[in-house]
């Protein structure tokens, strides 16, 4: 029961981990990308479109499908789709100095619209009775587990029973933590977010760092959307099913105090909080609705506590949300 609860929490937490790792990378460059919810939608639907085309090209026959292609095509599509969204955001905010909050929110509107529109179009093409597209074959490739997981009992279930996107998420978070804190590139990136004018004076290409960071961040977040469809929903896309996970990913950034390594733990805590209502005995449906606000309440508490303590290493990048124009110093 407890093992099952933890596994479920991890499964629910992984899309948030992708989203928040992506957002942390972006925010470290000083850009608050509120378009992440939309970008995750686009990542998900791009992956779905990719695997839909691949499944059709194999005549929907699982025997004809190549495991590697079945995984890599949706993955690359998701990355491509979300990077395009990231580029739109960068072009507007970095090059055209547009307001970041407004651009991000408009991008979210656009992304959710794109996701639902393309999703509905695919449902139309399949002439399915249900308002969803099932890509269970592709999903089965994504769900391939480590062979020895079953033999290790609860230990195996806890640590080895997840699909590869879960391990990839943790790997991405750890790698970005190392890059941000231990390498020159990471130091430069952080300096761009803290004080772009100083970074510029030190010879760092502020514009390039911001573009690259935002695009990598978007790509990571986009994979999160794909993970939700392929692993959590077992390959079934239905409109609006992704819900407000994008916003939760942004909340998680604060919860994790802008540290990817904290985000790993944080995302699983969030997954557990999201899921707690199903595992506490004797809750009526109406109380369950109240329990669903737990992750948001916890985020607010963390937000307030970090702002009260004002510890220097727990603060957002100093120039977060501000555009940099070289001639305006």
């Amino acid at each position: 029961m407890i093992i099952q609860f933890i596994c479920r929490a991890i499964l629910l937490g992984v899309p948030l981990l992708y989203g928040s790792t992506g957002e942390i990378i972006t925010e470290k460059s000083g850009h608050l990308n509120l378009g992440i919810p939309g970008i995750m939608y686009v990542g998900a639907i791009s992956g779905v479109v990719g695997s839909f085309i691949y499944e059709n090209s194999c005549n929907n026959d699982i025997a004809q499908m190549n495991a590697f292609l079945a995984v890599i095509i949706p993955l690359l599509c998701a990355i491509a789709g979300s990077v395009i969204m990231g580029l739109i955001y960068c072009f507007l905010t970095v090059t055209l100095h547009a307001n970041q909050n407004v651009t991000g929110l408009a991008l979210t509107t656009l992304g959710i619209g794109l996701g639902n529109f393309l999703g509905a179009s695919l449902i139309n093409i399949t002439k399915s009775e249900l308002p969803s597209i099932a890509l269970t074959k592709t999903s089965s490739f994504f769900a391939t587990k480590l062979p020895f997981a079953d033999k290790l009992g609860w230990f195996g279930e806890l640590f080895f029973s997840h699909d590869f996107l879960t391990y990839l998420a943790i790997a991405v978070a750890i790698i970005s933590a190392i890059v941000l804190n231990k390498t020159r590139v990471g130091l430069n990136l952080r300096s761009v977010g803290e004080n772009p004018a100083t970074a510029d004076a030190a010879g760092i290409n502020v514009i390039r760092y911001r573009y690259v960071a935002t695009c990598i961040g978007s790509a990571v977040a986009g994979i999160g959307g794909l993970q939700y469809v392929m692993s959590y929903a077992s390959g079934v896309w239905s409109n609006n099913a992704f819900g407000d996970r994008g916003w939760m990913a942004i909340a998680l950034v604060i919860f994790a105090l802008w540290k990817p390594s904290f985000a790993i733990v944080g995302s699983f805590v969030f997954g557990a909080l999201c899921n707690a209502n199903n595992y506490i005995q004797g809750l009526g449906t109406e109380t369950q609705e109240l329990f669903k606000m737990l992750p948001y309440v916890v985020t607010i508490i963390v937000l307030v506590i970090t702002s009260m303590r004002k510890k220097r290493e727990h603060q957002p990048p100093a120039n977060l949300g501000l555009n940099y124009f070289r001639e305006e110093r």
């Binding site: 608050l32 055209l96 909050n101 408009a106 509107t109 639902n116 509905a120 449906t285 109380t287």
Partner: protein
């Protein structure tokens, strides 16, 4: 010869971006107007590609989708259109004082939901007990208070600890949503639906259910314009928005202004919730505001803090929302197509601000001659 190579080594970029001094207001609006026209043509073009209908036919469907049989004398669709504008505009107006203060209130959705909750609660609980006039008064007061409280909570933390308001207000939305889900479950007896309540509704004026809503928002628009432009509080808001330090030096109590402004902002969102519940749906669900709280943020910003420009902007966006959805419907496509179009138009408008604030200078070719 040596001099020449030295000059060449100095790499000069092809284009050079310069911040403009204030450009005349009419020129700025010319750029924005041109962008809107280009965006509308672009929308028509994309609709044409997707629906495989003629270019002008898509616009025809848009117009008939929004205005219905207006030319034949039926004003039913027109009133619906005005009602939609009123709701979005009211939210945008509510957010404007907060934005002018540089307080990113992303919680319009939640504040409106709480206002709506207060309204439906009063309608159900006091509907039978109070006279009509008293009931309406109670609905107004409670929903204003509910919205204001939901706005004040993040404002207090912003004022005291400088807590990030964007994310705080965002989280408050979801808490409000869950409270509504809880209330709907209890009141609907597990069915997740509250049947429309017949008491405490705003009166219909001349067969028109939405008249009260539209007039209310029209009044709020004018009052907000005066409040921001001519009142002392409006001035304080703009000073705090420009520079908190300046505000402190000239003796403005910044904390008080932040909390008071968010109370106004939240209260107006609460009013929007009330208009939605008492003036339109007569019921409530978690999707009452339907994401308009976020669109309103964009409207307020595109309106440049000027309520009357916001009227124009909301009119255009609501037109696109309804019209393009009709175009998509007519070709059996998903109506989310309109969200894509609204997103594109807003992004184009956001982008065009660049050409208002900056000018692009190209590298002069005959530079050496000039030297």
């Amino acid at each position: 010869m040596a001099d020449k190579t030295a000059v060449k080594k100095h790499h000069e970029p092809l284009i050079h971006i310069v911040k403009r001094d204030d450009i005349p207001e009419w020129q700025a609006w010319l750029i924005r107007g041109a962008t809107i026209i280009v965006a509308l043509i672009f929308v028509g073009f994309l609709s044409m590609l997707v629906t495989e209908k003629g270019f002008f036919e898509t616009y025809k469907i848009m117009f008939s989708g929004v205005f219905g049989r207006l030319l034949q004398g039926s004003t039913k669709m027109l009133w619906k259109y005005l009602q939609e504008i009123a709701i979005l505009l009211c939210l945008a107006l509510a957010l404007t004082p907060a934005f002018k203060m540089k307080f990113w209130n992303c919680g319009a959705e939640g504040q409106a939901l709480m206002g709506g909750l207060a309204s439906i609660f009063c309608m159900i609980e006091f509907g039978e007990k109070l006279s009509y006039g008293a009931l309406i008064a109670v609905i107004c007061i409670t929903s204003i208070i509910a919205g204001a409280v939901w706005g004040i909570i993040p404002a207090i933390f912003k004022a005291l600890f400088n807590t990030n308001e964007t994310l705080f207000t965002l989280m408050m939305n979801y808490i409000a949503t869950q409270i509504i889900a809880y209330y709907v479950y209890i009141e609907g007896g597990g069915s997740n639906v509250i049947n429309p309540v017949s008491v405490g509704n705003f009166p219909a004026v001349g067969n028109n259910d939405y008249f009260v809503n539209i007039i209310t928002v029209a009044v709020i628009t004018v009052v907000m314009y005066i409040y921001l432009k001519y009142s002392k509080q409006g001035y304080e808001i703009s000073v705090v928005g420009e520079s908190q330090n300046t505000a402190k030096y000239i003796g403005i109590n910044v904390k008080k202004v932040i909390i008071r402004t968010m109370a106004v902002s939240g209260a107006l969102c609460g009013v929007t919730g009330m208009l939605l519940v008492a003036g339109k749906d007569h019921s409530i669900n978690t999707n009452l505001v339907g994401g308009q709280g976020f669109t309103a943020i964009l409207m307020s910003w595109l309106g440049q803090f000027n309520p009357f420009i916001m009227v124009v902007m909301t009119a255009i966006v609501v037109f696109l929302k309804i019209g393009v959805a009709k175009v998509a419907d007519s070709s059996f496509l998903n109506s989310s197509f309109s969200e894509i179009m609204v997103g594109i138009v807003i992004l184009m408008l956001v982008g065009c601000e660049f050409f208002i604030q900056y000018s692009i200078r190209f590298r002069r070719k005959n530079k050496e001659v000039a030297k």
